[in-house]
Symmetry: C3
């Protein structure tokens, strides 16, 4: 089982080219698109998307990730082995959020030319390097065969949440296709409240704190913990991101009214 | 074989999370995306999309459908067994158009916690309830194992076509990605005509009645019976929906000129 | 292994209907979406997309292609057997660019009703004709069984590149999802330069000639040979197509500064 995540979109044949390479090496591979709708070149967004889904896949799954603005420059191609799965992609932090959650065991730099395509283009390592490595991993090749172990992989510095009493200051990790605003604020005992004050895009608003979208009346905005485990701002059957002109990376401040 | 239909779009990892859950339970499942482009929260649109495709799949296929604006509220999760297939999703009518076409045999409420995820979120029953049930169904678990049989499932009240002589008054069920306007008017002997008068969006127009898109001259609008079996208004190599500013749910009146 | 290419988009259930038909005939088929984002009715674009990816798939792959503005008219349904693969689709040129690259061995007109659906609609041969033929091909039915061999298949007249000394006059074949402008100009010894002059959309600009996107400084436009083997104009982390208001089919003139 190999999942594929990228910022390629689905209009081009890039994703299919990777699948062709994988199935040429490993005809029995089961391929699942995690998403190809990562915001282009947005490593943080790719890292969040991957971390939101990878743990739902079975033990031994290979996660192939191509959000790779530095392709063709010095950034290294890597394989990460965790307690649960394998990750293949660029050493730019995109793999680390999910891999750290699972417990990293080893990281290897991909250098062994035996397991990559004979001609490596300067612009598409997803197809020429990462896809064949993922196919061979799924075929049972051991991680150590791909190259030397490394210890200095790039760690993402995604913001940590600051806290003053019941007030949490974080940022927006993701805006989903419904327009729900997903922050990096996770549940704690203070966060079970009936209402919250939210500061976002230079607006300060009081919102009901709900358990589910359906509890909202009409088009009012609400706060809740979404299925990711992060605090979301949502508008029932509407777009919170539009309402608040919010975008990924924006700061967000949430005060829980106990 | 499991098909998956939703209004999630493909930008997020929601669909992949469901696939991860399914493949963790049933690694040999074949998964086919029916579409994830159902208009958000539009149960009628989801019901139409499902009904347009489900009968092309082999006997015993499991159709997993998540168009679920009431998630987390009192609406029930159900399994429907028809003469041809299985349907899993919310009891809000989205499954019924297709299920009724196939002949409903039994409907069960999903209550047996043995076949759902240990922690059920308030916002994503697609992943926590429907996906595991679909995986177990595909694994051969019998429908009666999931919970008690029910007889009062929600029936959709999608409009029926009214008729006065050669004039049919219906509504728009769907606008496809080409901009073709699909009505709920089906073929009958009166409907084999050379021309039609169509009333739509406060316009009344005379259109040629064709067998195929290619018969239209230039960018003229035409009427025809599409591959769904429903009367369509189309513009050859253009968008009829744009031309007439039409949208799903709009009334449409068609008079056949015999 | 069957790949599917179309201009259907992913909002409708058309692609799923084809997959249902294929899996009803051949439940063990592995299906890969090449893309369903071909520009609507654009045979040249479909031909380019197919040619960019088909050669990455294993020997014996069946490529099912539905970019078919002439559906229901006299254009013929065909099967092409090449040295490497099989192609199924309309005889309008969309298959020929890729098939010619692979070396065409035989072309057959699909006439044998044994291998198509009993009721063929006028508007959707993708589902009623091409999908079942692809399924039977993948099942091992020989190409000659589908109908008579033909020799007069439609050849696409995609523009060839004109040349005056170091100046190449071609056109835009494709604009990818990153906004990169892909021309029909391929590498030759004159084309390894440090800089190029490009004439495009009534602008004449001097650009750096790079090996990879990451070599560009800031948001400057550059020229390079992309992973397709064609000369591209790109803006690092931005859209060249927007910058130059370029579209598929536009002329482009490139002078290499040796």
């Amino acid at each position: 089982l190999i999942t594929i995540t990228s910022d390629f979109g689905l209009k081009d044949s890039y994703v299919a080219q990777m699948k062709g390479v994988i199935l040429s090496i490993n005809p029995k591979a089961t391929l699942v698109d995690l998403t190809h709708g990562v915001e282009k070149f947005n490593i943080r967004h790719g890292a969040f998307i991957l971390a939101s889904a990878a743990h739902f896949f079975p033990k031994g799954t290979v996660h192939l990730v191509v959000v790779d603005p530095g392709v063709g420059t010095v950034r290294r191609p890597i394989v990460i082995q965790t307690k649960h799965a394998f990750f293949v992609g660029p050493d730019n932090g995109v793999l680390m959020l999910s891999a750290q959650n699972q417990g990293i065991e080893h990281i290897y730099q991909i250098l062994n030319s035996e397991f990559i395509l004979p001609h490596v283009s300067n612009t598409f390592h997803g197809r020429d390097v990462f896809a064949p490595v993922a196919a061979y991993l799924d075929n049972g090749i051991t991680t150590a065969a791909f190259g030397p172990e490394i210890v200095n992989a790039v760690k993402p510095k995604f913001a940590t949440v600051k806290r003053k009493a019941n007030c949490f200051i974080g940022e927006i990790l993701h805006i989903d296709d419904f327009g729900n605003i997903v922050s990096n604020i996770t549940a704690c005992k203070e966060s079970f409240a009936k209402a919250v004050r939210v500061k976002l895009s230079n607006q300060s608003v009081h919102l009901l704190f709900c358990k589910t979208y359906g509890q909202a009346k009409g088009k009012q905005a609400i706060a809740l913990f979404g299925s990711h485990g992060f605090l979301e701002i949502a508008v029932n059957q509407g777009s919170a991101a539009e309402k608040f002109s919010a975008k990924i990376g924006d700061p967000i401040e949430v005060e829980f009214k106990v």
